[in-house]
């Protein structure tokens, strides 16, 4: 198969993206724009230049090789015009201090399969397999489909971690190749959903319904961000979903962490959530308590 996708990370021996020991493939590109995203470098569909200011010595070597004048130095400050970069990689090779890198590399399904297959023994003993994540992996539908198919052919357990924001037609097609879904539930209410993630949740909820009816085991993953969705309404909605879908595999609560912030700066995106702080464990424990009191016993910390 010739199909290629931009992969921004491969994590082997991953323990938290489904059952057993897994290899998680992160595809770049996401149609949502969640304010709290901890992987802002995964949003763009294209590759991306990333700059680590802590490592830069201002030596200027990058500027010498760049044909697009991406790098400039004003008053001893290294400025980067991210939009002009065409990912030639020349400055990456030129920088001796590893201050620059390009996020994302183009990979074929075959190349990924080779890497995935290396840990077959570990999947077999632990009941693990491959998890496709992102970004939103289903945005690259045909690539994802092909990868899932090949995994199934090799008898590898498959998971997809998705926002659910994908056409209903595509979504239904992919269900047959899934052993498990990690499905995000982000914000309650269509308009609030649009406000904080950039898209409405209408399709998302339909897809959730479709997956449930199809019978794919589902782990509902709920990022909780103080001030945005740590409201009683939202927790109630989670509890309601639990009632509506009694056979949900489990519900994972993922508390907000600031780690995405400094990553934004390194790819030239403004910091958006300066005021937010990492949530201390006492508070997250309260959330679980609250959910329990609402009759949702499946909720646990992710």
């Amino acid at each position: 198969m010739r199909k290629k996708a931009i992969v921004f990370d491969i994590q082997r021996a991953s323990l938290h993206d489904g059952p057993g020991i897994r290899t998680t493939i992160f595809l770049k590109g996401c149609p949502l724009d969640c304010l709290w995203c901890h992987n802002p470098e995964s949003l763009g569909k294209k590759r991306q230049l990333s700059f680590n200011i802590e490592k830069c010595t201002n030596c200027g070597d990058c500027a010498k090789v760049c044909e697009n004048e991406v790098h400039s130095f004003i008053n001893g400050k290294h400025l980067i015009n991210y939009n002009a970069c065409d990912f030639s990689g020349k400055c990456i090779d030129a920088c001796n201090f590893n201050a620059l890198k390009i996020i994302g590399s183009e990979m074929s399904v075959d190349e990924l399969m080779l890497e995935i297959m290396s840990d077959l023994d570990y999947y077999a003993t632990s009941g693990g397999g491959m998890t496709l994540s992102g970004g939103e992996p289903l945005s690259q539908f045909s690539f994802s489909m092909e990868l899932l198919k090949q995994c199934k052919e090799m008898g590898i357990h498959t998971c997809v971690e998705t926002s659910g924001f994908v056409s209903i037609k595509h979504f239904k097609e992919i269900l047959g190749y899934l052993d498990m879904l990690l499905f995000d539930y982000k914000v309650t209410g269509a308009s609030a959903h649009k406000k904080f993630t950039g898209v409405s949740n209408e399709t998302i909820l339909k897809n959730l319904d479709a997956a449930y009816l199809y019978g794919v085991p589902i782990i509902l993953r709920c990022p909780v961000i103080p001030g945005i969705n740590d409201s009683e309404i939202h927790f109630n909605a989670i509890a309601a979903l639990d009632k509506k879908y009694p056979n949900l595999h489990s519900i994972e609560i993922l508390p907000y962490h600031t780690m995405g912030n400094s990553k934004r700066i390194s790819i030239g995106v403004e910091e958006t959530l300066e005021h937010l702080k990492t949530v201390p464990p006492e508070i997250t424990a309260n959330w679980i308590e609250l959910l329990r009191s609402m009759g949702c016993n499946k909720a646990k910390m992710g």
Binding site: S14, L15, D121
Partner: protein, 753 residues
Amino acid sequence: MQKIDDFSMELNFTEAYRKNINEHIAIREAICHQAQFPAVLSEIQDNDRLAGRTFWGWIGFSPHNAPGGAAYGYFCHEQKIIEAIERGNIPIEQRDGVHEMLHFWKKETSKAKVEAAFTEKMLPVLFRDEIVSLPYNFKPMIAQPIYRMAGVFVNYEKLLRLGIPGLKSEITTYRDNSKASGGDYQLYEGMLMALDVFIDSCHHYEKQAIEKANSCQDPKRAKELLQLANVLKNNAQSKPQSFYEALQLSWLYTLICGSLELGRVDVYLGDFYVNDIDNGIITEEEALSLMHSYWRLINELFRDVDGRVIIGGRGRRNEESADRFALLVLETMRTYGRAILPQTTLRFYEGMNPQLMEKSITLIGDGHTFPLLYNDDVLVPGVAAAHDVPLEDAEQYMPLGCGEIVIDHAGFGTPSGSLNVLKALDVTLRNGVDPISGKQLGLQTGHLKDFKTFDEFFDAFKKQLAFFIEILADHEELEYVESAKQAPYLYLSMLYDDCIARGKAIFDGGIKYLGGSLESFGSVNTADSLTAIKKMVFDQKLISAEQLIAALDNNFVGYEKEHKLLKESPKYGNDDNYADDIMVQLHDFMCNNMRDQRDRTNLDWYLNVLINNKQNTILGRWVGASADGRKAGREMANANTPAGGNDKKGITALLNSLVKPSHKIHAGTVQNMRFGRDFFNNDRPKFEFLLNTYFKKGGAQAMITVINRGDLENALVEPEKHHDLFVRIGGFSSRYIDLPRDVQLEILSRVTY
């Protein structure tokens, strides 16, 4: 406080040796033991439940347990004596004697005897008398001789079954028979004298315990001391009847025979323990209290690279009792708290009582470095093949100190040399010349630029390695030959198969198997360097031979581009065949070449070991920048662990790489691996799957540590060496060094140890 500068013991010892210099070596050694014990046995301390502490003299006799830097046979710690002379605190009447004694031992120590016997071939390669104590160490040599008889695992089972009197009567029978038939009965005579020294030592401590009890204010402690006195008295006159007596006898014997290993405690103590518990002779609490004392003594008296307590595994005749005792050992570890010793070692196999592994993993998860895990399903057949012994002997394999594998009371294999593999590569790049001294240290095999292909270069490197390996193998053999000439090592000979029956001393044809091992250091950096050379200089030709040498000579300063290319070349530990294949080729060559030395020498085996100790750091100081991107003087990677956290692809990729080199051709490797704490808490079942899969895939060993505060702190200082650290935050796993600084600090602040 240092030992006061009273040299009466050393002077007596020297006198004993000298007077008997022409005596039979067994008699001479026994008389020397009389001068040494109980003189070097130090006092029972306040909370000791067991008697037996040593304060070795600066001169004495011991196979291994003696002052650091001197521990081999008849030893003399010159530096310490010279320091004392310079302090001027030696009693006047001793001064001439001390000077004279120092002079006398220059030619008489066991080490001097070996050095005097060096062959023509050894002379230019192995250094003599240039050794300075750790951590300064050595001139920049590639092959280092090591002087000590390490890895003593005596037959504790026999010792405890017969007791001292039983052993005496067995030896007496042999002596009488030998005498009657006109044989060399003196060896037996020496053994009997040595056993009397042991009995005197028991009485010495018995007396001391009684005295201490009499002057003790605390009635509970006084009772304990009297109990101890009674145990010692029984040890002197009968075979052990209780767990307490068995533990005391084995401990004192370990000390006096000069061993630093404890061996299969679960087998030799298990029956005593189970009998005493089941018959109400001792309580669990009391047993634990004795074990704590044992643990404390080991910690205070042994060095951190020694002290193997081995539990579990195949080939235990009393498996059920042994398992129960093994659980006591693990409970001792838990209640004693994290400690650097003993190096508790869990041998396991499929079908063994699962409690042993479960408890062990819990301990590791709590931050204990031990137990070290040894997979019998791989190692028993592995040892049978590598050491070329029958399976039933292989079942009795014992990893000593740092991890060299020998056979319990039947096969000796002290590591008598170390090979700085990376330094050998250093000189191979430069036609055999050492860039530090400018001397021709290796063979003249040409300069890097002279080679047309990588294979030609690799062959030249192999030639260099083979040259050093031969010399070190010869040296191992020579060490045994000279040891045998000088002393029968009485305490070992009487408890090693088949010395008594053959009437021969351990190193003089008495022991069943006499093998050896060679500690190789820097293999992983070497393999990675070869990979980088292959890729950059020969395959892709991005760096010329001249450029590479210049970059290395300049420690990459001014050669940042080259440095970057070299660092980014494939590295072992990532399940990448380009790099792993070269590691396997190097491993195969070294192991097989060493293994073939048995055909050239009289050794039953001579095998490679890849282990952890400080040598990777110390020897690294003599190696310039290397082609894997390592800078001049920096440490080399431990054992066959990926260099400097170079395993970037996660634990499964690391484990896949680790199982590639064969385990049927060496005498021990240590596989270091680090796991985040979450593996031991919520994800413990996954951790067990991971470990089981690794072991099923042929993983021989695992030394597991939990990522701790120190690791994270080091990663902040030197991120490029810690690609392998993964942490879990906010529902995601991330590579620690890739996280923003503030997040790194936040995680660090949450880690408690």
